[in-house]
């Protein structure tokens, strides 16, 4: 199967990332610009593996303070109490609102972790040149891209709770230091997913020259 499959890279053609036009690359090293839309052409996203690794590691570093630092502080009649994400989930669960607890747990804790693990797995398998389960890995990649934005849920919940509950001296809410780290995790993983080139998954299968990747 590997030899009869023709990819654009092997044929010396480049698919424009913007408009999808298939054009001949001017040269291997510098493919040139797309004749239709003028965007710079590249056979594969530049430095995909390095960039994605850097972003994944950065996001993983931010993930720790995002979960350890409190994200929300509630001030009632003068006394302030701070809550982390997990603390909030546990409290929601024990106080009976388990659907909310589940939503927050999935969106804020499991999804970012899952994204990090999935991206790491994809990068490792690409770097090892694995040829197994290509379609599943591609599907995993699409899942990561699709689900990524939903981790931003907790940031929005925080924002609107803070914006509404400003009724001192009775009760007021402030954002905690963990929120910015959490937002950073979401943003970094989204950019990481965009910078990863899924064609790399299939390249091991088609014996493409390494210097194209």
């Amino acid at each position: 199967m590997t030899t009869s499959v023709l990819t654009a890279a092997r044929a010396g053609l480049v698919s424009c990332g913007t408009c999808g036009l298939l054009a001949a690359s001017a040269s291997r090293a510098a493919p040139g610009h797309c004749p239709r839309c003028g965007a710079p052409l590249a056979a594969r996203r530049r430095g995909s593996v390095e960039t994605t690794w850097a972003l994944v590691i950065a996001a993983a570093i931010c993930y720790i303070p995002a979960n350890l630092l409190p994200v929300l502080g509630t001030t009632t009649l003068g006394s302030t109490e701070y809550d982390t994400i997990m603390g909030g989930v546990v409290f929601l669960f024990t106080s009976g609102s388990w659907p909310l607890a589940l939503i927050v747990l999935v969106a804020s804790v499991m999804v970012p972790l899952g994204k990090l693990l999935a991206l790491a797995y994809l990068l490792i398998t690409v770097q090892r040149g694995s040829i197994a389960s290509n379609r599943e890995r591609t599907r995993l990649y699409h899942l990561v891209v699709f689900i990524g934005r939903w981790s931003m849920l907790d940031v929005f919940v925080d924002t609107f709770t803070v914006a509404l509950v400003q009724l001192s001296p009775l009760m007021s809410v402030q954002p905690g230091a963990g929120v910015v780290f959490f937002a950073a995790v979401v943003v970094l993983t989204m950019i990481a997913a965009e910078s990863f080139d899924p064609r790399l998954i299939w390249d091991a299968d088609t014996e493409t020259e390494p210097d194209v990747a």
């Binding site: 698919s15 298939l22 610009h33 004749p35 839309c37 591609t138 509404l164 509950v165 009775l170 954002p175």
Partner: protein, 227 residues
């Protein structure tokens, strides 16, 4: 693909496989032979429908950002906020970066996406469309993953439920507008066909009128890419 009687040769963006995509009947979808990713769709009314929806979505977006989202009242105190007000409150409380991210994902990205899409559709109604249309289309596609209106909607609802346990909360016009926007944007995305637009855009390199593609159906390459 949308042009009558033309097949096009493409490389799959996911697995880079070269394949021919034939002319599609209305509403049909072409998927990659190897990895199954959707290569092309043919939507009915690729210009009019997304145009109408974009205009509606822009109006609703304005409403969603100017009208208050919900009102809260407890022991005589009252409060209400808009989307921008939420980002502003985060800024004021010292979380500037988070405020910027929230404003970008909730207001700027959807607005940019809608405006670009609208401009592209308006310009593409009469081909050939000028070159900048391509640029705007690129921007619209870049903004699309960052437009998180539905995530924001869920976030607002979760916040509402949490606050409603202790205070009287009343959803206001802003929230309904966000809900409508949440439905309109996917509708625009499903009825929008970028290929139809690209077909009408003048080519970037030499300003020649739109052609069928670089690789002709007889297997010869028509044009070379510009260095």
């Amino acid at each position: 693909m949308t042009g009558a009687g033309h097949a096009e040769t493409l490389a799959c963006p996911d697995c880079d496989l070269l394949q021919v995509v034939p002319e599609l009947p209305l509403g049909a979808k072409a998927s990659c032979a190897r990895c199954g990713r959707t290569l092309a769709t043919r939507t009915a009314d690729p210009i009019e429908r997304p145009l109408a929806l974009s205009i509606a979505a822009l109006l609703v977006l304005i409403l969603a950002n100017t009208a208050p989202l919900m009102g809260l009242s407890v022991v005589g105190q009252q409060a209400s906020t808009t989307i921008v007000g939420g980002a502003w409150q985060m800024w004021v409380q010292g979380q500037e970066l988070t405020a910027v991210v929230v404003a970008f994902c909730a207001v700027f990205a959807p607005a940019a996406y809608l405006l670009c899409t609208l401009a592209v559709l308006l310009a593409a109604r009469r081909p050939p469309a000028p070159r900048w249309v391509g640029e705007l289309l690129r921007w619209a596609e870049a903004m699309q993953p960052w437009s998180m209106v539905e995530v924001m909607m869920l976030g607002i609802l979760v916040a509402l439920i949490k606050i409603a346990e202790l205070a009287t909360v009343e959803p206001d016009i802003g929230m309904y507008a966000v809900g409508v926007l949440m439905l309109l944007i996917p509708a625009i995305q499903s009825s929008f066909d970028p290929e139809a637009i690209w077909k009408r855009v003048t080519w970037a390199d030499d300003g020649s009128p739109p052609a069928d593609g670089a690789v002709q159906t007889d297997g010869t390459l028509n044009l070379r890419s510009v260095p």
